[in-house]
Symmetry: C2
Subunit: 211 residues, 2 copies
DNA sequence: GTCTATATTTCGATAGAC
DNA sequence: GTCTATCGAAATATAGAC
């Protein structure tokens, strides 16, 4: 038999509290992904977490703070994939990494839904996720731009390939396929379609013998 | 000097009422485009229209009915462009029509924002615009699929071109470029980027001498 | 056709007990 | 850390006068 909570040593981490918080973030991710930020109430997150509304707001001072925690967690899960500590892939290898990312996302509809919903909502500068969305796009744009430029430098990608257009179009394909995938679950393969798109890019801009 | 309204002939169309309704639809389009459906209040639409909330709800029994009117008007403005009475363009000409549509949309941020916002929101089956969004995608998918297939039949597009993938990717590029265009106003040309994308498709799937 | 007034929920957030 | 209770604001929608 263990001591009741109030007799625990002060230095002990309150795991139960941490778990509640983590569960709330997971629940909020799911609800934000399906109903959006505006369309999700704090009460709904609390109920599905198994807390009262006040109990939830003990961990997050406001709804916006809850969103911030959700985005932070998303970045933590996804961040290492493209911008991790390992050297970023360059040239066509970067597109292969994006294909792998598409395959990975195909198993995580919640994170895809979260991004699609928030990217659309947060177009407005006043939206609490606006800065995050802008930074997300700036990040992947910069990452891919460097990869394409490096591909040119090493003679893998044609020197006259329009870097900006290729980068923007590639990002557009990923985003657009996600939208269709969410709308037609099971009928679309983001991975296969993106792979085919990369194939057309290679056919157009590869330097023969290196692609 | 004209008679006061109550003495007008009964059969006369009340233009002032029609105008209020039309203005409300225009205002709602703008607000739905920027703040989304969930994020826009009936009161906000009424205020910007110059009506009281009840005055607005006289024309539309509910907020969902207002949305329906907005979508109907959007379809009316856009419908004739791709699916009009004229014969639909076939083969590569269909992609040129899409380029023209991109150019046209570049002058109408409200309608682009409306679509991007609603397409993301209405992924959920319970959203009042869900059916509309699904029908919109089904429509453009069918339209483009027929065009590509016809391009094959007339020997314009390679017989081994993957129709479904080309169609889905093309739609994805349009949607994705719209998202980036909304997020980076002025820094992106949807038209130029889409045109370049069509160029890569042509380079890959054109039958020499006919593209 | 438009208004004022109001009914009814639901929202985000706070106060204070345990 | 979690709860009950509650506040104030904002939401959709309705009733009835003009």
């Amino acid at each position: 038999m263990s001591f009741p909570p109030r007799y625990r040593a002060k230095s002990r981490v309150d795991l139960s509290g941490e778990e509640s918080r983590a569960k709330a973030v997971a629940v909020a991710t799911e609800l934000f992904a399906t109903a959006g930020f505006k369309g999700t109430s704090v009460a709904a997150v609390a109920a599905k977490t198994g807390l009262s509304q006040s109990g939830l707001l003990h961990h997050f001072p406001s709804k916006a703070a809850l969103l911030a925690a959700v985005l932070e967690e998303r970045d933590r899960q996804d961040g290492d994939f493209l911008t991790g500590t390992t050297a970023p892939p360059l040239g066509w290898a970067a597109f292969d990494s994006l294909t792998a990312l598409a395959a990975r996302n195909s198993t995580r509809p919640h994170l895809v839904g979260l991004f699609v919903r928030l990217a659309a909502e947060a177009v407005e500068p006043s939206h609490p996720a606006h800065t995050w969305v802008q930074q997300h796009y700036a990040g992947i744009r910069g990452w891919l731009t460097e990869a394409v430029q490096a591909g040119k430098d090493r003679g893998e990608i044609a020197a006259d390939a329009p870097v900006g257009t290729v980068v923007r179009t590639t990002i557009a394909v990923i985003d657009g396929l996600q939208q269709q995938w969410l709308l037609q679950p099971g009928e679309v393969s983001m991975t296969a379609d993106f792979e085919a798109f990369v194939g057309t890019l290679r056919a157009r801009w590869s330097i023969v013998g290196s692609g």
